[in-house]
Point group: C2
Chain length 231, copies 2
DNA sequence: GGTCACAGGATATGATCAAATTTTGACGTG
DNA sequence: CACGTCAAAATTTGATCATATCCTGTGACC
């Protein structure tokens, strides 16, 4: 029997149970969500096999999933790139996000327990800290975590799945927004949400969520319009 | 220029430009949407390579895309199957579909031209014909086409994409509904939509669409509840 | 400016390895 | 003696890789 294990590419991986294509997918997803990818940037299979140390097949599968998610686009010729949103795209995303995420917030409020509220407070503190020191990646991560932690309480996996898919679409553009405005000038309504959660006022939380979403999307739209005008 | 075309495996297909994984994806999607797949049915890669005459890689990629679409589920053990919806799932799908598809109908009404209205009438006629003869597959196809043709006018690709994704989720269950109730007893509000389209009354069309969606989803929920009760 | 060859990259195949399910058989118990 | 339980072999299916083939865009050359 062959006792020599195959070359372990991933260094120091505690949970090596997940298949390679899953790992590749998660890593690419994180890169897209948290701003390592710029809109318009080309994505090549062979480039990823090197940078991620994985084979072609897992990378191909991960890319297909991300294309289906809307996180990458397939440009007829068989090249793949990070999509560049248009103002019309932002408008559609805004409509759907407002609808879905407000409802998720509403449902989450009803299931919310004290422990989760506390951990939300913690996440929001870290978020504020990241904002104050201009840590863009930290801002993006904690902001995502804040929303995700709320939605996780909604007990609505399908809606969460759809919401996540939409985040993947505007993730790269959010990075651009941060580059343009800096983290200091990114308002949010997290405090209002926390108020509503403490009071168990589902409608207040839903409304705050809707406004939070709209505010964020408006910033994205503004940057895109600015870019269009400059061109 | 090379005038000799590459060996065409598929016989007599004018558009042989599509790559294998795309063809496999489209065929599986159609099978899921139009009822060739039963909820709970196992999907094996090797089975598909045989039944579709394709290699493993294209089949794998198509399956990943469909998993991302929610049309198939990945059961931890790395097996794949057609998902079985729960009542809670139906409820979530209903909420989102109502919101998105009503809005799509609203927007489509504003862009609707006479030719498209005519072709909608034609589709609806074929739909009625399929209903009256109990042609389940025809019913599913034409019903889908009717909705798709409306949404195509909305000029909102992202929302259409999301809507399509939701159709893939409940497609297999719809087949079960037809098996339970027959096509005769499946009401719809297509006539009301057509009325609204002729009058260019976007709100009326949106409301009819919302009711149509809700009605259909209620049937699915009813069948699922029945199955749960029987167990 | 048009054509052709070349290079980079994507697609597709089959082989090989690993994991999970199913089959099979042995054993103990009622 | 029949049956149920458990375990290990065998088979089925999934995951990954290396390689071959094909497409697309580019640049050299006429």
């Amino acid at each position: 029997m062959n006792l020599i294990k195959k070359s372990a590419i991933a260094p120091a991986d505690p949970g090596q149970k997940a298949p390679a294509h899953e790992i590749v997918y998660q890593r690419l997803k994180a890169q897209i969500l948290f701003g390592d990818m710029a809109p318009g940037q080309a994505v090549t299979i062979q480039g990823l096999t090197e940078s991620l140390g994985a084979g072609m097949t897992p990378v191909r599968e991960a890319i297909r999933r991300l294309i289906s998610d809307g996180a990458l686009t397939f440009q007829g010729n068989r090249r793949v790139k990070v999509p560049e949103m248009t103002v019309a795209d932002v408008e559609q995303v805004t409509f759907v996000r407002t609808s879905i995420e407000a409802e998720l917030a509403r449902r989450a409020t009803k299931n919310m327990d004290a422990d989760t509220i506390q951990s939300l407070e913690n996440i929001d503190s870290r978020l504020d800290a990241a904002i104050s020191v201009g840590d863009v990646e930290g801002y993006l991560k904690h902001n995502y975590d804040f929303h995700a932690a709320i939605y996780a309480q909604a007990n609505a996996p399908i809606m969460v799945d759809l919401a996540e898919r939409l985040w993947l679409r505007f993730g790269p553009s959010l990075r651009v927004v941060c580059g343009r405005f800096g983290t200091q000038n990114l308002p949010d309504l997290h405090k209002e949400m926390m108020d509503g959660l403490h009071r168990k006022d589902a409608e207040a939380v839903a409304m705050a969520m809707a406004q939070d979403v709209e505010q964020g999307m408006n910033l994205v739209a503004a940057v895109l319009a600015e870019q269009d005008a400059a061109r």
